[in-house]
Amino acid sequence: MAILIFLIVMAIILIAAAIYSIMQKDLLFAVLGTGVVSLVLSIFFYMLQAPDVAITEAAIGIALTTIIFIITIRNTTRDENKYNDDHINKFKTKKDA
């Protein structure tokens, strides 16, 4: 029974982490949320008798995907609501019209 409860708790954590990661305004934490999604997902895969998929998800989903997101955030912006104040259209060229 304990495993069943564990499974349901895991399902709730998974959904909560997914919602958290799309609602969180601080993108760094949002990305960590997707890391949690991957982590719980790989536990799911393991419980559903898919150890190969679990290892792949762990290595690629948790480690590599998270790190490339973090690199991107570092190169762009961490705040979801950040707007560019200078007028965007000032770069517009005639050719693109």
Binding site: P51, D52, A54, A59, L64, I67, I68, I70, R74, N75
Partner: protein, 247 residues
């Protein structure tokens, strides 16, 4: 507001459709059918993998042999992604010189404490060995080329972020990358020339659960492992070495 409504309707439709569809695909039901008289591909694979190919891990047998062509395609997807990434983030030499920051490293680094560096130094060989172990034993235990390759890439990632001066040897990387890819295709062409079917396995397969068994399958998985490791390391290397824009 209208957009929100449309999106909501779209999402509700998709969710409802999936729920209805899945309710008639019950989980846990055996859809494979009899193994002796296979009607589905799954039954056939479960039958042939231990008996004909002598590969203990059926998923490896499926990925490398039965559906090996998919894996070749997948490896090339990764290769193309690395190429595309390099092309999108490529900078002309003039541009680099213009910004005059060519020789300054801007790589993302952890706060370099000696603790982190020592830890990385100790962990790095262990991770590499683990990765190699995973893809060498791909036909026996869970894991294989992708998993091993991804683990090795994590090892390189650790070194790249903890040492400012750590650089992957580009020459070696290019050679390894190309040779691993060519090795994979080469094994396939070997099957084509010798047995008349691309990627065909050799007749000799050894015994189930031996390290050296399964014919060419472990060899292919080693090539896949090296290829995946180099491609992923390449992707990380390119991304980590982006120079931040001038403030």
């Amino acid at each position: 507001m209208l957009k929100k409504l449309i999106v909501f309707l779209l999402i509700a439709t998709l969710g409802y459709t999936l729920a209805v569809t899945l309710s008639s695909i019950p989980i846990g039901k055996n859809r494979i059918g009899s193994i002796e008289n296979p009607e589905t591909v799954a039954a056939y694979y479960l039958d042939k993998s231990p008996n004909d190919l002598k590969v203990a891990n059926t998923i490896t047998a499926v990925v490398v042999n039965f559906r090996g062509f998919d894996t070749l395609g997948e490896v090339s997807v990764l290769f193309l992604a690395a190429t595309g990434l390099a092309s999108i983030l490529y900078r002309k030499e003039e541009e680099e010189e213009e910004e005059n920051i060519r020789h300054i490293s801007h790589r993302l680094n952890l706060p370099s404490s000696s603790l982190v560096q020592t830890g990385a130094k100790i962990l790095f060989p262990l991770i590499i060995v683990l990765g190699i172990y995973v893809f060498i034993h791909g036909h026996l235990t869970p894991g294989g080329g992708f998993q091993g390759g991804a683990i090795i890439a994590t090892g390189f990632l650790l070194m790249l972020v903890s040492y400012k001066g750590f650089e992957t040897n580009h020459k070696v990387m290019v050679w390894l990358e190309s040779l691993a890819g060519l090795g994979f295709v080469g094994v396939g062409v070997f099957g084509l020339v010798k047995y008349g079917s691309f990627l065909q396995n050799t007749g000799w397969t050894g015994n189930l659960n031996d390290l050296i068994s399964g014919g060419l399958i472990p060899l292919i998985y080693i090539f896949v492992g090296i290829k995946v490791a180099t491609e992923l390391t390449n992707i990380l290397d390119i991304l980590l070495n982006i120079k931040p824009r001038k403030k």
